[in-house]
């Protein structure tokens, strides 16, 4: 029942506002987190046996008649489902305490679950138009979640996000229309087969350019990144964690990767464009992050930079490069989710996001500070944490494929990353305790628990990285490595 990944969060979202009338806090907390926990357990326990014999294509029956609800689950989509459920669950737990002062908690969870349903639907989609629809589901929910605090900044950031995001969506729709005009279909299998028969290089190039613009905007690759440094810091901390940890990867990187590798087929030209885009993003955003004083804005620029690594690895197109890119995608989801949540704890305790006003908070918030340190070191690529291994794999893949310059740039950008994360650590958590924060206490239980859980996961994935790669990353990379054959052969027509 793959449809549960879409249907369950939607159904729970549908009843949450009603439940919120009976119980303002307890029942919405319980229901939303139970749904997220179920999805995580289901993805981990049932997902892998399901795809043991190859991808599963589900066609549903309703009252004895077949309904054309086509969903496909393979190694790549399962990895994404697991990441969405895992980070979603940690964010849900964090929200129990954090969202108290925002009010309208049932409504918040409802929007959050619609966003999760949108991401899950996108990941399971089998055609281009489904991708667009579920992209919009997640996007519409995310606009209002960014504005959830209702302050001037939040509303302005949400509006800017909305305006730039619809430009991206428009580019995606135009590209889908061009492909539909050529192949007469939008389903992955038929389009992949049709494009092979047509051999229409230039027009496919235009469609690919439009997709790069559209999905590049969603993934906030430079030069399409202008909305992210405003939108991500303005949102409530748990939503920043989902936006940076999941949404830009699902609606940007996942969709782009699925279409380019499994439907269009990665040509050398496309590979080069992706690698350059990734490299520009990872370098420029790292420099931009260094100058930031707002802790969440620094993390937002860091997200752009890390998405650059992911696109660089996947764009390289070799099996090792794809595996490294996907592993970094998962690791970044964990670590950036963790970092945004811990900064949420800090912001709630101190009321500021300005690094210059902080200082010495590790003495008052030891768990939060330790978790934040682990997240920072993980993203900076310090061994033995998870981010180290994924960056190492990407760099080895670049060297193996004969791109030593890209490899050197990736290493140098990693040093920059370490630099700005150390600035953050020194200014926020270490040094002399600012007198203003003498009365600050450690974050409430659920906020601390969820950040500690994510920090432990960062360590565990780093220590047991080979098991993680074998069980989750390789099946996903295999699907992408098979190129267009994946959707033509196993998804059937």
């Amino acid at each position: 029942m793959i449809i549960l990944f879409v249907a369950l969060p939607l159904v729970v979202a549908g009843i949450l506002p009603l439940v919120g009338r009976i119980s303002r806090r307890f029942l919405p907390d319980l229901l939303a987190n139970a749904a997220l926990l179920f999805m995580f357990v289901y993805a981990v326990a049932a997902g892998r046996p399901l795809i043991a014999n190859g991808p599963v294509l589900q066609q549903l029956n309703w009252l004895g008649e077949s309904v054309n609800l086509r969903l496909a689950l393979d190694g790549f989509s399962l990895l994404m489902l697991m990441a969405i459920a895992l980070v979603g669950l940690c964010v849900g737990l964090f929200s129990i305490d954090y969202m108290e002062h925002y009010g309208a908690k049932a409504n918040y969870y409802a929007l959050f679950l619609v966003m999760i349903a949108g991401m899950n639907g996108l990941v399971l989609a089998t055609d281009l138009f489904n991708i667009y629809i579920f992209l919009e589901v997640a996007a519409v929910a995310s606009y209002s979640l960014v504005a959830f605090g209702l302050g001037q900044d939040e509303l302005e950031a949400a509006f800017k996000y909305l305006m730039l995001s619809v430009v991206g969506s428009a580019a995606i729709v135009v590209s889908i229309a061009v492909i539909f005009g050529m192949t007469g279909s939008v389903s992955f299998g038929a389009v992949a087969k049709g494009l092979q028969e047509l051999n229409a290089g230039p027009v496919v190039g235009i469609a690919a350019a439009l997709f790069i613009m559209g999905f590049g905007l969603k993934a906030a690759l430079i030069p399409f990144h202008a909305w992210l440094p405003d939108a991500h810091p303005s949102a409530p901390a748990p939503i920043s964690a989902v936006l940076s940890g999941l949404l830009i990867k699902v609606s940007g990187v996942y969709a782009m990767t699925r279409i380019f590798l499994n439907v269009f087929g990665l040509t050398p030209a496309l590979s080069t464009v992706l690698m350059y885009l990734g490299t520009v993003s990872l370098v420029v955003a790292a420099f931009l992050a260094i100058g930031q004083r707002d802790i969440k804005r620094m993390l937002a620029y860091s997200s752009i930079s890390q998405v650059g690594y992911i696109v660089l690895g996947i764009g390289l197109g070799t099996p090792l490069g794809i595996a490294g890119g996907l592993f970094h995608l998962f690791n970044h989801a964990l670590a950036k989710g963790l970092l945004f949540l811990t900064t949420g704890s800090v912001q709630q305790a101190t009321g500021t996001r300005n690094l210059d006003e902080m200082g010495g908070l590790a003495k008052r918030m030891p768990f939060t500070a330790t978790a934040n340190l682990i997240g920072s070191l993980s993203i900076a690529g310090v061994p033995p944490l998870n981010g180290f291994w994924s960056k190492l794999i990407i760099i080895i893949a670049l060297v193996q494929a004969g791109h030593p310059v890209f490899a050197v740039v990736a290493v140098l950008a990693s040093v920059l990353t370490l630099w700005y994360y150390l600035i953050m650590q020194r200014k926020a958590f270490f040094g002399i305790l600012n007198e203003k924060w003498a009365a600050v206490k450690e974050a409430p239980f659920w906020m601390t628990a969820s950040t500690v859980l994510l920090a432990l996961l960062c360590v565990a994935v780093g220590v047991f990285f080979s098991a993680m790669i074998k069980t989750w990353i390789q099946p996903a990379a295999g699907v992408l490595g098979d190129g267009v054959q994946t959707v033509i052969r196993s998804w059937g027509l």
Partner: protein, 160 residues
């Protein structure tokens, strides 16, 4: 061909007016006229269902909602806007039209298509049988819209 071109020019003109008119009522009406013209273009291209939805929902229902909302709210002080937009937009517009006129026709003729043509069927078959997952997505978009309205127009009561 002449009618189609006139409709397209009208569509673009009224869309631009909708963005640039300062009076909100006039802007809303310009938008309605633009979508009415788009609806007619849909009809002429044989997409009658799309035409019906465009005219009834976008030109009709949404315009009514816009005008109702404008009528129910007070006129605020005029917001100063950057004059840069008034210069940059027409410039981009002219460049876009020039590129469109020079390149698009040749480009569209060069787009190859498979001989089999698009997947066919009646509107109902395509909607209910072919695009069922899209309908689930539509339900989700509507849910997201409703929850957004509830969240963004909420009052903070004393419990919160």
């Amino acid at each position: 061909m002449i009618v189609q071109t006139a409709l397209l020019i009208g569509l673009v003109l009224f869309s631009v007016l909708a963005v640039f008119l300062k009076d909100l009522i006039r802007a809303a009406i310009s938008l309605a006229v633009a979508s009415l013209l788009l609806g007619i273009i849909f009809f002429r291209l044989g997409a009658s269902y799309a035409g019906v939805f465009e005219i009834s929902v976008v030109a009709g229902l949404i315009t009514v909602l816009f005008i109702l909302t404008i009528a129910l709210t007070n006129k605020a002080e005029e917001v100063r806007e950057s004059r840069l937009a008034n210069v940059i937009f027409p410039l981009f517009f002219v460049v876009f039209i020039a590129i469109d006129a020079l390149v698009m026709k040749g480009l569209l003729q060069k787009i190859p298509a498979l001989p089999s043509g698009p997947e066919s069927g009646t509107f109902g078959e395509v909607l209910w049988k072919g695009r069922t997952l899209d309908l689930v997505g539509q339900i989700a978009v509507i849910l997201a819209g409703v929850f957004s309205v509830l969240a963004l127009f909420r009052k903070r009561d004393k419990h919160d």
